[in-house]
Symmetry: C2
Subunit: 357 residues, 2 copies
């Protein structure tokens, strides 16, 4: 099993809004060649840093297992691969579940508002303290792709190449809408406003989010293929009910409600043009090679948003950015589940990066 590591940062973390988070911690995993060029992997908003389990895949699958390994896209023979839990996220980095040193109690719903700029700054700070002077390549999916984009815009000299998967230049309003449903459903749960984050009502809200996610983040054609062999509407109904409800308790255990809110709001804040005179000024900073990957059925990051990034970059650096479209029944989740297509998209990009090194 890959070990989860913790880095205690040497200084406080200052959020974009000027709030000081004391004694920040980053949870992360590390794979591959410790002295190789560094590749950063960034996880999705409801996920964590367990990108791959290179020693024991079956026990705890990582979200990009199919892309990490010897000779693979994220080549463990060549690269030092770092996968860092986002600040405010659910899996070990400082978040709503952490103890606030000022009060001795968990932050809970009072955890500071974290933006995608904060995600990028946190990653930068963590990577520096891990001794990384420059990233050879940064890749991420969904929320992680937004972190990669912001990191590259803010610190272009630090990021050698980018692969945002399921991405956009600013948070899509469609995605923001579903995020806000989830955020509101947690906030409305009885007890949440009084500080409870793990009572039945709050856990139910998180559990319902997990069910809705299984529908919203895929595509109806997935359900068609899943139920092709089931005869009769009542049998289909039973199958779907069980499939949707499965794992809800474990999901609520693993997804602190306030950390969920923190991550979804961070996504909502995302706009690479923020702080610049225009979106175009942000694109002008993206001088590194870019491979942008979208999925035809993704309702949260429809392909035209990925294409916008490519067009924006190529206006300034013709040919620097390439677009790859996944065809999938998995909708948004194709960014995790379409391993073969992702490999097909990324392998030539990796080879090109290595050749130009």
């Amino acid at each position: 099993m890959v070990e989860k590591k913790y880095l205690h940062l040497s200084a406080s973390f200052l959020t974009e809004q000027g709030v000081e988070i004391k004694q920040p911690v980053a949870a992360y995993e590390e794979y591959g060649n410790p002295v190789g060029p560094v590749v950063l992997l960034c996880h999705g908003g409801l996920s964590n840093q367990h990108a791959a389990d290179v020693t024991d895949v079956d026990k705890a699958p990582g979200w990009w297992d199919k892309l990490v390994g010897p000779g693979n896209v994220f080549d463990t023979d060549l690269f030092r691969i770092l996968s860092i839990n986002a600040i405010g996220s659910i899996a070990g980095s400082t978040s709503a579940s952490s103890i606030n040193p000022d009060t001795g109690k968990p932050y809970g719903k009072d955890f500071p508002y974290i933006t995608m700029v904060d995600h990028a700054n946190f990653l930068k700070q963590v990577l520096q303290e891990l001794g990384v002077e420059k990233l050879f390549w940064a890749a991420g999916l969904s929320m992680g792709s937004l972190a990669v984009m912001n990191l590259a815009v803010l610190y272009p000299e630090f990021v050698g190449a980018i692969t945002p998967v399921a991405s956009a230049p600013y948070m899509t309003v469609g995605g923001m809408a579903i995020h806000n449903c989830f955020i509101e459903s947690i906030k409305q749960a009885e007890g949440w406003a009084e500080g409870e984050d793990n009572n039945r009502a709050v856990r139910n809200a998180v559990g319902v989010m997990s069910m809705i996610s299984k529908v919203y983040y895929t595509h109806y054609s997935l359900f068609e293929s899943m139920t092709n062999d089931i005869q009769g509407q009542e049998a289909r109904e039973k199958f779907l009910t069980e499939y949707l409800a499965a794992g809800q308790e474990a999901y609520a255990d693993g997804h602190n409600a306030n950390a969920v809110i923190t991550c979804l709001r961070a996504c909502n804040s995302y706009d690479i043009g923020k702080g610049y005179s225009s979106l175009d000024e942000a694109y002008a900073r993206l001088s590194m090679p870019a491979l942008v990957i979208s999925t035809d059925t993704d309702p949260e990051f429809p392909p035209q948003y990925g294409q916008q990034i490519v067009d924006g970059i190529n206006r300034h650096y013709p040919g620097n950015a390439n677009f790859y479209l996944l065809h999938s029944v998995y909708g948004h989740l194709a960014c995790v589940l379409e391993g073969e297509q992702l490999k097909e998209a990324m392998m030539p990009f990796k080879k090109k990066l290595l050749a130009e090194q």
Copy 2:
């Protein structure tokens, strides 16, 4: 204002599963020419029989206001138009909110399982008791379109013409999946299993369903057009949060949780082939003119399902069925909101029906 009427049926209603519902009541509205040919309108699963307010549109808009009126598609000068609340639904027909004559208490979660065949049989019984010998035309949307389809398959001699809008020959599994999320979220609410149907947790579940519906049942491009003029992600987030949460309390007031479950499960049961040797045998019964309308962005009833109905009918009665595709940012809700396109689709169909009368 159009008056809501109640019909107390003369006999018990026997469900498809053999359960007797005593003293059944149908809530309905009636518009137009009392002695004209009869047109039946059937509402959606989370909606009610208020299809039109022909006298005072602004006070209480009906879902097909744009199609009902003198000289309009559903011509109040010509037709006797009946819009009937589905059995088990939220707005006056016998449902989970009704008093069970055997116990003197509301049925609550013990209201019998109602199928779409029951919807059709209930409509037939109500129409007969209202003195209707034959329908000139039956039209409906979403759940109502399924009722129209089942009515026409079960009683082809009774139904002169059909216009199912947002429809399919059997419930789509994608739609079933989102229904099951909503059903489960209510069932998981604290107190529901003990018989509570209006406590905070259950109302929250219904309220969250109303928010999710605003996202799932439209299309992300709607949110893009709604927020085009709003600058900045935080302002967009605020707007969306308010838009999504608006009306939740009123929605929970108007949508009894168990009636919601009843209607969603009825949709899930839908399959016109049920009780026949094949789907094709069901199509063979649909000898009346049909206009089937779908929407390009509808995730619940994607256009290929509407096209299936048309192809199925035309295999037996070439040219009898026509397909019309709405282009809309409203997704599933186009069946209510795209009044002009619906009018364009239905007006020639109405004229043809009148000419062939």
